[in-house]
Symmetry: C2
Subunit: 205 residues, 2 copies
């Protein structure tokens, strides 16, 4: 087996174990066994256990950011942009459930330097949503709300799906995304304010 493939296998096995048992409860020897390899061989591909974790988190954050930016391309309506971003966010988190779960629960396993790196990426990602919301407020599409608090809220909410979602459950990814989407947009319009805009295309179509 070429090195790059083994490396990917290790990462995949580690992702699965970190997701199921947690980072601390997973031993390098567990990952080795799952990869059909000896413990020492792991260190040919990754410098340390933390390096492996970091690699998973970095890739996930990278992919997520790229994905959401792609998703937004060509969409101009301010409300639709947020809707699209929510769908993208939920979709990404539910389809790449394990990695995202780890990214939101195992940051503790990182050294302060690596921790800061991931947090920086996360902050940049959050800023995308904050800008979308702010833009919506400025355009009058949303009520005047606390952008920071609600952006955290929205992301947390969508992210949480990664901890309970079951691919073969009652609802599929798209259905869940739609539920969140409507809930959030309605929340941002604030019922007691003027809720006068007509339903958007994305909803009725």
């Amino acid at each position: 087996m070429p090195a790059t493939k083994m490396k990917a296998t290790i990462k995949s096995v580690a992702t699965d174990l970190f997701y199921r048992k947690g980072y601390y409860a997973t031993a390098i020897s567990d990952i080795a066994r799952g990869s059909g390899i000896q413990k020492a061989s792991i260190y040919y591909h990754y410098a340390s256990k933390e390096d492996l974790l970091f690699s998973i988190l970095e890739t996930t954050m990278d992919d997520l950011t790229v994905y959401i930016r792609e998703t937004l391309e060509g969409v101009s309506d301010v409300e639709e942009r947020l809707r699209v971003a929510i769908r993208g966010h939920v979709g990404f988190h539910l389809t790449r459930q394990k990695e995202n779960f780890i990214a939101n629960s195992e940051l503790r396993g990182l050294s302060s330097q690596n921790f800061r790196a991931i947090v920086r990426m996360r902050d940049a990602y959050e800023r995308i949503f904050q800008d979308l919301i702010r833009r919506g407020i400025d355009d009058g599409a949303f009520a005047v709300v606390d952008v920071k608090i609600l952006s955290y809220a929205i992301l947390t909410l969508c992210t949480a799906g990664a901890s309970w979602f079951k691919p073969d459950g009652r609802l599929n990814v798209d259905e869940i995304a739609l539920i969140y989407e409507n809930f959030i947009i309605s929340g941002l319009k604030q019922a007691e304010g003027a809720v006068l805009r007509p339903p958007v295309a994305a909803l009725s179509g």
Copy 2:
């Protein structure tokens, strides 16, 4: 020092350390040092490290459930009941931040038996909110939404505050609770549906 006080001290120190460093990263000897005691003495008060964790989680869940039930007493309006519950939920999580953070991030440290016990308590608590939402739908106060998904969403959202809230930050507990409250209630009314009810007393008063 009487035994009961030392026991409380240990629990408090453990809560602080579990919150700051995480359960696995905290050694019994750390807790002992923080309590001004020797490691072996911890075991006079608690049977094991897990027992200590479980004790924290059990107390927290108990207190939370009792608190929310008290909060709801005497409130009859269906929308106001949910509002009150949200305020209570947020308030509890932000004022007893450490314990709640642990309760939502360190369940992995529990044996399957203890894990089940806590999950049972959590499920019972969630059911309170699910009933409130369902009741609001039946009464026409809320749009017809997916109760299960949105109850998870609401609780997660409010709970998340415990991971970033800073007591001396820009907003205090009540302000944050109000933001969440309005956001959620608006979300449940669903902007594109019939949002015809007048603002409730709690909002204008």
